[in-house]
């Protein structure tokens, strides 16, 4: 017999949520509480508006390019029938394993004045110098937009494909029987119906763009993220950096509320998800070739060409690149990504099962709040975790010394702990979302059945829920793993003594224009992300 009393386990999700939220709270507090002797005012008077307009313009361009890339792909794969469609279905997701900054260095190398493309053109037309012809400069805002879109479009592709598949095929057929061409039917029926998926995808891409540091830094495009980085590390003002971060959080809040607003409408548009595979529109003739060219060209640009270039350099500089450092940093990256993925899963399970066992507004807000960190760029998260952890470290040391013990050193902020926490703040949301979406597919009556068959909540989770969301758990693990492998700015700012990841290692070479040495570690990041992705994908395909 259990009495009606307060349960301790209900506290855990809130502790987790508070920990994940602490960086954001710390930033906002330090931005408004501590005086920065006019540095922020100075920035506001001079360059801040340019940073903001650059940032917004970049987001706009990346979103537009991503739509151009993702929408046709999603439609071809979901609604049409043509050769290689089934392969494309998952191949189009693979660019998710590509860090944008690696795509950026590859194309810079290819398209630079001395790169193979311009060299060939010069030989072909007999041009002598840069003044003889016009060639678009990739190191611009527009160039950065294309590169980022090449790496980020799969987010939108995945969501749109899902939306197109969930739409009743009957609607599309109805539109065609009312005299619309397939393209017009797509435009007037499929697109409006997938508006909410579009909004979610766009906001994901916008957030990733906002958080990108390496690409814009490499292309010398000054955005809010680079401004935060520079203000902190060049001007030496953490407070001012926190203030810019707050400006950025404001931009984020706007983005998130836009997304929520569009999701609010989602219910109106949602159909009963009946996948209609038999009524795919069969492409023939030039349409078939058009679809083939578009999709495979896109994949080549975002995946095959970068990998080929990296392979070329990796092979040529193999002896110089393969050393103990590379092996050590690979192990570091793997271990870190693994640890973060496992912990993110734990967070996701705690928060999601709290919601399942105690449905209501409280649990829902715990899920929401714990996911907020994903929207916050790595640079900002780094500042956010440093502020509280350093203070806790100082307090702990004082405490220890007052107990007559020896000093601890920087247990939290000077160790792997801070890096793991920073990553968790950023990536828990991915796991939370993934577990959430697979858990809602498990009928609540299964839980009730198990409970009435003599199993308590814990046993029910173990015997019923966990086996049924295995797929979601695996997906969550892989997604977090890949993100953690790619993450750069948080690693740059938070890594402890003598600790490099593959990403920071690559960045170090890249910032010295030594792509040939960056190639092998960059390939490692890609391959180590791609392998689990492909393996898991095939496993899931086979099962279903």
């Amino acid at each position: 017999m259990i009495s009606k009393s307060f349960n301790l386990y209900k506290l855990l999700p809130w502790v987790v949520t508070c920990i994940l939220l602490s960086p954001i709270i710390a930033i906002v507090l330090s931005a408004f509480v501590i005086d920065d002797s006019g540095s922020f005012q100075h920035l506001l008077d001079t360059v801040l508006l340019t940073y903001i307009s650059n940032t917004l313009l970049l987001i706009l361009c990346v979103v537009l390019f991503s739509i151009c890339f993702a929408m046709p792909c999603a439609w071809f794969v979901a609604c049409c029938e043509f050769p290689t469609r089934r392969t494309l279905q998952w191949v189009l997701m693979l660019p998710l394993a590509m860090p944008p900054y690696i795509i950026a260095i590859v194309y810079t190398d290819l398209l630079d004045f001395s790169g193979p493309v311009q060299r060939t053109l010069r030989q072909l037309f007999g041009w002598q110098s840069a003044n003889d012809y016009y060639f678009p400069d990739i190191r611009t805002l527009l160039g950065a937009s294309v590169i980022l879109a090449l790496a980020l479009f799969p987010y939108l592709y995945l969501l749109l494909r899902g939306a197109f598949l969930a739409q009743s095929g009957g609607l599309f057929q109805a539109a065609r029987s009312l005299g619309l061409s397939p393209l017009r039917a797509f435009w007037r029926v499929s697109i409006p119906l997938s508006r909410s998926a579009m909004a979610v995808g766009i906001s994901l891409i916008a957030m990733e763009t906002l958080g990108d540091f390496a690409t814009v830094n490499y292309f010398a495009v000054s955005t809010l993220t680079t401004a935060i980085y520079d203000t902190w590390l060049e001007l030496g003002s953490l407070t001012t950096a926190a203030k810019i971060s707050s400006v950025m959080l404001l931009v984020l809040v706007i983005l998130i509320s836009l997304e929520n607003y569009s999701r609010r409408k989602q219910k109106v548009y949602q159909r009963n998800g009946s996948v209609s595979t038999d009524i795919r529109f069969v492409l023939t003739g030039w349409k078939k070739w058009g679809a083939l060219t578009f999709t495979w060209l896109l994949i080549s640009l975002s995946l095959f060409i970068p990998i080929a270039v990296l392979l070329y350099y990796a092979v040529h500089y193999f002896a110089e690149s393969l050393n103990d450092d590379l092996i050590n940093y690979t192990i570091n990256s793997l271990w870190l990504a693994f640890l973060v993925a496992i912990l993110a899963l734990a967070v996701a399970l705690v928060v999601n099962f709290y919601q399942r066992l105690n449905p209501g507004l409280g649990a829902k807000s715990a899920v929401r709040l714990s996911s907020l960190g994903y929207a916050v760029p790595g640079t900002v998260v780094a500042i956010g975790v440093l502020i509280p952890l350093t203070n806790i470290d100082l307090w702990l040391n004082d405490l220890f010394i007052s107990w007559g013990l020896s000093s601890l050193g920087l247990v939290l902020s000077g160790s792997l702990f801070i890096l793991v926490l920073g990553y968790l703040v950023r990536f828990s949301a991915i796991a939370v979302g993934s577990v959430d979406s697979s858990l809602v597919q498990v009928s609540p009556s299964l839980d009730l059945a198990s409970r009435t068959l003599g199993h308590g909540p814990a046993k029910t989770i173990w015997r019923v829920n966990l086996p049924l969301i295995k797929k979601g758990l695996l997906t969550a693990f892989i997604l977090v793993f890949i993100e953690a492998m790619k993450e750069l700015p948080a690693a740059l700012l938070l890594r402890p003594f003598n600790f490099e990841t593959l990403a920071t290692y690559v960045y170090q070479f890249v910032s010295d224009e030594m792509i040939e040495y960056a190639a092998l570690p960059a390939l490692m990041i890609i391959v180590l992300g791609l392998i689990p992705f492909i393996v898991v994908n095939n496993m899931l395909e086979k099962r279903s």
Binding site: T46, A130, N131, E234, L394, L396, W403, L408, L410, Q508
Partner: protein, 339 residues
Amino acid sequence: MSIKKSFTVLLAGASALASSMSYAAEEVNVYSYRQPFLIEPMMKEFTAETGIKVNILFAKKGLIERIKREGKLSTADLMLTSDFSRLALFAKDGLAQPVASDILNKNIPSKFRGKENQWVALTSRVRNIYSSSERVGPAPKITYQDLATPEFKGKVCMRSGKHPYNVSLLASIIAHEGEAKAKVWLEGLKANLARKPQGNDRGQVKAVKDGVCDYALGNSYYLGKMVNDPKQVSWAEAVNINFPNQATTGSHLNVSGISLAKYSPNKENAIKLMEFLSGDVAQQMYAEINFEYPVKENVQLSKLVASWGTFKADDIALSDIAAQHEAAIKLLDEVKFDL
């Protein structure tokens, strides 16, 4: 009591995990703004001589911020910088401590040492102007001021204005000519840029080779490094190295240097390393391997560096330049130099 005890054990375990190196006897922790491959040869030599292990934490940015934050818990013994402004900032923020060492006093001329040796310079380098050997040829009379004149429109390349090397150069111009004139110069320079500031100093030389521009700002030792890199030697061959302002103030000098951290846990070893780096062996290595100008007198320049010839250096005090550091950064924002 039992809670306190288990808490203690837990944290002790965590701290062991956190930084096992900080209290070991024979080692020294260096926070370095200079890239590991530039200093590793000297560090290896030091370890071979003394048996003291050198741990290097390298970062391009943020180390001072980090030490500041770590406060008295910092594991840093030494701060190694690639430019003077950070060295000065480190001392100014009270993160350094004085070093009483006769060896340092003897090896390094006083103008290359801070008050009570709170910082000491290890090498110096010139902020050169490279000119295209193909389109311009040697330009011995060139000045920094020339780069802002209309004849140079669209012909100049440089890295980000916010990079310490450029901030330092701008600060020296503010020190010499005042803020108003410096601003006019900076605006003129911005107008003359062939492309937005980007890349590093090597990248500028490459841009000259590629024909993007005719002139580039860069530190002297980069050319030496490029000459010895099979891929980059062709870049180096595309430029002439020029010492600016020979008829006027002299070429801008910057230094790399080292500072003893206030809370250094391995102070003795740290001072040993400082002394070693100022000594003949290390100074010679700096000259030979890194193509820098040693600060110790009577140390031979590398052949290549010697072949560039002698030059007149700007003899303004380093501290006068450091004083203008903040003004320089604000000026760069005001003219939106990098945007």
